[in-house]
Subunit: 344 residues, 2 copies
């Protein structure tokens, strides 16, 4: 029961000093996202955020998400800010679907050995996206887990809390056959399909992150790291106006997997594939990988990042207003009898 070796926490791979210095670096990033309801600073056990008093019958809307293997592209290219924005925007969209506006966000970043530059880049991206979405970065956890992650690698998750008045919750429950589906463009793959995309581009096609992406004036890294868009600013005017019956955020599972989540049982969707041009990155992936079309629509968003459900007589007005605001929206299909999503 004795040993002539002495051991400390740092030799076991955990550096408490560096964790403290890292935390100090976060302080100003968090401070920039504070609003009048943020009641705490970094360092408290739990972050404090006052419930807004201007929302009648308030309901909290919350979501947890990850960035998935898009992170691998960040590792390969050494660019770590965009995944920080991705995770915030992904979470913002997930609660926007129920009509909620964001209150605050927390991140979880787990790594093997803390590399200050990398962690700081990620949290900078998180903080920038929080500011853009008028959402407080209330806190988070940076975990040092030696042996779990290779040097320079990490996992990243996000948690968001938003608020909506009970009477304003969007659920799609009132959708009926004949209602219109309006598509909003994605900026790229957003955060889905990266395991398949990496397999195709890196393993099958033998491309590197700095190579030109086929047919595009961007590198592979630039295309794959395009930031997951937030639809908050674009859709908030329509939500306030009450013109939407429901929304579907097109994430894992694609259009077929996500539209049904916002429709009543027994209803489905008819999607007109010719109503939009599938962006080049998806066409390239399909061709290089020889991926079947149905699989493409399940693995990727195919250029559609968000779908709004509106009554048929509102459709033209919603599309017109969105287009006027600079959003390239279009009617992409309709609600039909019978479950499932048919691509025609």
């Amino acid at each position: 029961m004795s040993s002539n070796r002495t051991m400390d926490y740092r030799s076991a791979g955990v550096d408490l000093e560096r964790a403290e210095s890292e935390k100090r670096g976060f302080r100003s990033l968090l401070a920039a996202t504070k609003d009048r309801l943020t009641l705490s600073d970094l360092g408290v056990f739990g972050g404090l955020y006052a419930v807004p008093d201007d929302v009648p019958d308030p309901v909290l809307v919350s979501s947890a998400d990850g960035v998935g293997t898009k992170l691998r592209v960040a590792f390969l290219s050494g660019r770590h800010g965009s995944v920080g924005q991705d995770i915030v925007n992904h979470c913002v969209n997930d609660i926007l679907v129920q009509g909620a506006r964001p209150l605050f966000f927390m991140d979880y970043l787990a790594t093997g050995r803390l590399e200050e530059g990398i962690v700081h880049q990620v949290v900078e991206g998180v903080a920038a996206a929080c500011q853009a979405n008028q959402c407080a970065l209330l806190g988070g956890e940076t975990a040092q887990m030696p042996g779990f992650y290779a040097d320079g690698e990490y996992d990243l998750a996000g948690f968001i809390v938003g608020i909506v008045s009970r009477g304003d919750i969007l659920s799609g429950a009132d959708a009926q056959p004949g209602d219109a589906l309006i598509g909003l463009p994605s900026s790229g793959l957003h955060t889905n399909g990266y395991s398949l995309a990496r397999r195709i581009l890196f393993d099958t096609a033998g491309l590197k992150v700095d190579d030109a992406f086929p047919r595009l004036d961007e590198t592979v890294a630039e295309v794959l790291l395009r930031v997951h868009r937030s639809y908050l600013m674009t859709l908030t005017p329509e939500i306030r106006r009450g013109s939407l019956l429901g929304l579907a955020h097109i994430t894992g599972g694609g259009l077929p997997g996500n539209i049904p989540r916002s429709l009543p049982d027994g209803l489905g969707a008819r999607i007109l594939k010719e109503s939009w041009e599938v962006p080049q990155p998806f066409e390239v992936l399909r061709e290089l990988g020889g991926v079947e079309e149905s699989e493409m629509y399940r693995a990727f968003n195919m250029g559609v990042g968000m779908v709004a459900i509106v009554s048929a007589d509102q459709a033209a007005g919603v599309v017109a207003r969105l287009r006027e605001s600079g959003e390239d929206a279009w009617e992409l299909g309709e609600v039909v009898e019978g479950a499932g999503v048919r691509l025609v």
Copy 2:
């Protein structure tokens, strides 16, 4: 731009069918934690939870946490339920420190390949602890990240939201020199110091998870996987009574790292080491690893899971009531002038 190989998402390591079947398995686990304020079921984009209407001037208290490399012990022993409980209890304690009671919890579980038994065990643990803490399991994310995690391994994070009335927030801000510090026992290492503990037990001492833990009637796995205690039920009566000035959850950084988080600037703590017997697991780790005493108190909780700050004249009453309720509380020190924690 063509290929004679066809590729699909499953061959790239992501199994959407299994993810769906896994989700169905979670449904009943979540349902068991629902309360009257839980307005959503699994499958929605964001979980819905009504703000309680019986809390005047309500403030949300939120925390994000991980289990750290305690997970490695779960992997080695094939027991995955207790880490699910750990992450919930850890989060519950972190917001209890500010006087909050939990409303809802979300988990993030990331794995390489979904192994249904393992993920289900973890979420069962999460759901059981949510029930025990009267907290709704509102949702979560199970991420399939091929290549990020070895088979059978995963990372686990938790996110909690609780509520407290603004006037009832515990902050320690009113603590003064002479106030008493009351210790509440931990059940074991809780979720801190595992990188060092594993290094000592497995690498230096050559023990296996199924070996007897030195001096104890438990195996190494049993000792290391003891569940991180929740102090919610124990401390809620004292919080309601208004007898506490502040609380400190003893996590990473130990007593020296955590007590100052709940004291005003310029005040510190004098801890009487002889006021309690350091539990055997810590003594064994110190001896086997030859770890210096100061390092032990920074890496481990040393038997103290939570510290309450109370005015000197309240101390005896608080200790007596806690003991009456079955909690082995004791006076472990006092608040003193001057920053820092002195162990005497």
